[in-house]
């Protein structure tokens, strides 16, 4: 018997959960609750919620893997009792009718519990005695998919966070050839302080957050949020924000096309790229030679392309440093550039520039090797 075995029935449940879950759930650690500590049957699930994570411990029983698991929620959620509302034995939940042969059961349980958790947070926030918050909830909840979370602790000030999904667009379809597994979204995080009495309510904290994989297309950090006018509510703030965001997303998507065209226009001069990012066209590498000197050219294209020129790094195929690593040039960002040039003109100027730069780089490589 090997060390650290997960019973097959439990493995099947976890695998189904990880591959089918509509949100990106992770297993953080696994350990054993048996007398024989080699059978792993308990684990922590990290579940995305309201742009943050909640951690739930799931306990199976390796000795009786046919039995339903149990879930222990976070320490701040002791009042979260999802099945307490149902009356006694009549409650029809997955745990009561657990079927270990069906490996989708854990998945259904976690999805069901996360929905119950959302309802629980909504109920808690509804009970907060704060006029503005009540108004915000009433005006905002017409939008779909809003998640909310109330953080309360002795060391932290009480606040309510909303995660408002923006722009009803399907990024996965807009970006041709994307390999994203989960639907990509941009959210506005709105954080209201509660529990204190203010003469004039302070503006909420606002932050634009995108799902992590979307960063290859659009940077939320570069986006300048419109100002929040005193006395405003979120429902008023959103339309303007969405309009601005919408035009910038369109720019970002057209920027992909501009990058693709640029890479394609380099092909007549440099040959086909030996490596290129086919989805976002952020990177391309060409193999070049200047007389007998062969080297690689790495192009890195920013999200602001074509406004911002590409960054270039040359890498020799013939010179190596003392550790056996190929010699690379520093990052070259100063090349002749104008966004108004046509793609073919850009490529012509790039060829001229690199022909000169190749000689400098060769000299640099030779000097390094002589030392």
């Amino acid at each position: 018997m090997g060390i650290d075995t997960v019973p097959p029935l439990i493995t099947a449940q976890i695998n189904y959960l990880l591959s089918h879950c509509p949100f990106s759930v992770k297993v953080e650690q696994m350990w054993s609750g048996c007398k024989n500590p080699n059978y792993l049957d308990r684990f922590t699930l990290v579940i995305p919620y309201c742009l943050d994570h909640i951690k739930w411990d799931v306990t199976f029983n390796a000795m009786y893997p046919l039995a339903a698991p149990d879930v222990i929620f976070g320490p701040e959620d002791e009042t979260f009792q999802p099945y307490a509302g149902a009356t006694g034995k009549s409650s029809k939940n997955i745990l009561a009718n657990w079927n270990s042969k069906d490996s989708s059961q854990l998945h259904s349980l976690i999805v069901e519990l996360r929905d119950a958790y959302l309802a629980y947070q909504r109920r808690r926030i509804g009970e907060v005695d704060d006029e503005r918050l009540k108004f915000e909830i009433d005006t905002m909840l017409a939008r779909e998919g809003i998640e909310m979370y109330m953080s309360s602790g002795t060391d932290k000030p009480e606040e309510v966070k909303f995660a408002v999904p923006l722009l009803d667009m399907d990024f996965n379809r807009l970006v041709a050839g994307s390999t994203w597994r989960h639907p990509q979204k941009i959210y506005l995080q709105v954080t209201f302080p509660v529990g204190k009495k203010y003469s004039t309510a302070p503006p909420p904290r606002l932050k634009l957050i995108s799902s992590s994989e979307l960063k290859a297309l659009f940077s939320t950090e570069d986006f300048k949020l419109p100002t929040w006018v005193d006395g405003m509510c979120t429902a008023e703030y959103l339309p303007n924000l969405e309009q601005m965001l919408n035009s910038q997303i369109k720019d970002a998507i057209s920027s992909i096309e501009a990058r693709r065209k640029f890479i394609q226009s380099l092909t007549p001069h440099f040959g086909r790229p030996i490596e290129a990012d086919p989805v976002f066209c952020r990177k391309a590498t060409f193999l070049c030679s200047s007389q007998t000197f062969t080297f690689l050219v790495h192009f890195t294209l920013s999200l602001q392309f074509p406004k911002q020129q590409p960054a270039i790094v040359l890498q020799s195929s013939q010179h190596f440093n003392s550790h056996g690593v190929p010699v690379k040039s520093p990052n070259i960002t100063e090349c002749p550039w104008s966004p108004r040039w046509s793609p073919s003109e850009k490529a012509d100027r790039m060829l001229e520039f690199l022909a000169e730069e190749a000689l400098n780089f060769k000299k640099y490589c030779n000097q390094l090797n002589q030392q």
Binding site: M1, T5, P7, P8, L9, W31, S32, G33, C34, K35, Y39, R42, D57, T59, N61, A62, M63, Y64, P65, L66, A67, D70, V71, I72, F73, P75, E78, T79, Q81, P82, Y83, A84, G88, K89, L95, L113
Partner: protein, 292 residues
């Protein structure tokens, strides 16, 4: 259901030790019922200071015994309450888990504490108390030599778990106050306490009537439950003004010890059989679960 706050939860050191042992020797997780009694007591402050005159009555629950089964089996319907023991609540013992109620714990506790048929009446009171105690037993995440167990007691009240401290009661001078609430729980058959002389005629009369014989047989059965081979006649003699009182009493005590001895031997033998069967079952289960 209205739920009254329990002021104090007591458990004997032996009962807690036995519970912890059961939890740690089990193959997997276990759960089960907690039995005992509850009483409303009015503590005697033993002080003549006038300010302490306010008398508060405390609701004290004492855990005396438990029933445990592996967690994957559902809890059976609880046995009916007797005059001396009632169902106080339940416990859940799970290794290496956080010391807070889980989803199953809250559901089971809610179901127990909201069933009116399980409510009982503590002594010296007219309250109706549901089985709302929950004792959680876990082990630390890192194996340790000395600190091997963690436990926390709760009362489920108003759809929330209220942590309660658990007083461990042992024998010794510091636990003397316990004797105030002591109530014997061994039931000897009720004996006539007629002041009568050693009148053979009267005794014969009683013995020979059919009803008398039936009664005698019933009493003997009840006595056999707590003493091994002590005739009912000898017990009834103890009620009178007999001479050999001390020796008879000692004899009864010996017979009671013998009974306990016999019972514990039976428990030992059946436990060994259960363990053997458990090990066999576990091998079969491992095979089914694909662990072999």
């Amino acid at each position: 259901m209205d739920n009254f706050p329990i002021d104090k939860i007591q458990i004997s050191g032996a009962a807690l030790a036995s519970l912890l042992h059961r939890a740690s020797s089990a193959v997997g997780d276990t759960h089960g019922y907690l039995f005992g009694h509850a009483a409303v007591s009015t503590p005697n402050p033993l002080s003549d200071h006038p300010t302490t005159a306010t008398v508060t009555s405390l609701l004290v629950a004492t855990i005396t015994s438990f029933l445990s089964i592996p967690s994957h089996l559902p809890l059976p319907p609880p046995p009916p309450a007797t005059a001396t023991t009632c169902l106080l609540g339940w416990f859940s013992a799970r290794r290496k888990t956080p010391l807070r109620p889980s989803l199953k714990d809250s559901t089971a506790t809610l179901s127990l504490s909201s069933s009116p048929s399980l409510a009982f009446t503590p002594q010296n009171s007219t309250l109706s108390l549901p089985p709302s105690l929950f004792l959680l037993i876990t082990t630390p995440f890192q194996d340790q030599l000395i600190h091997t167990h963690e436990y926390k007691a709760f009362q489920y009240k108003g759809s929330a778990f209220e942590p309660k401290s658990l007083c461990i009661v042992n024998i010794g001078p510091s636990f003397r106050s316990q004797y105030d609430s002591f109530s014997p729980s061994v039931e000897l058959p009720a004996m006539d306490c007629e002041l009568k002389g050693p009148n053979a005629m009267v005794e014969d009369e009683i013995d020979e009537s059919l009803a008398g014989k039936k009664n005698q047989l019933k009493d003997q059965k009840q006595l056999d439950l707590c003493a091994e081979g002590f005739e009912i006649g000898r017990l009834s003699k103890l009620m009178g003004a007999e001479a050999a009182y001390t020796t008879e009493m000692e004899e009864l005590y010996d017979k009671m010890l013998a009974k306990i001895d016999g019972l514990s031997r039976l428990v030992e033998q059946s436990n060994a059989k259960v363990l053997e069967q458990e090990n066999h079952n576990m091998r079969l289960r491992s095979r089914v679960a694909g662990l072999e």
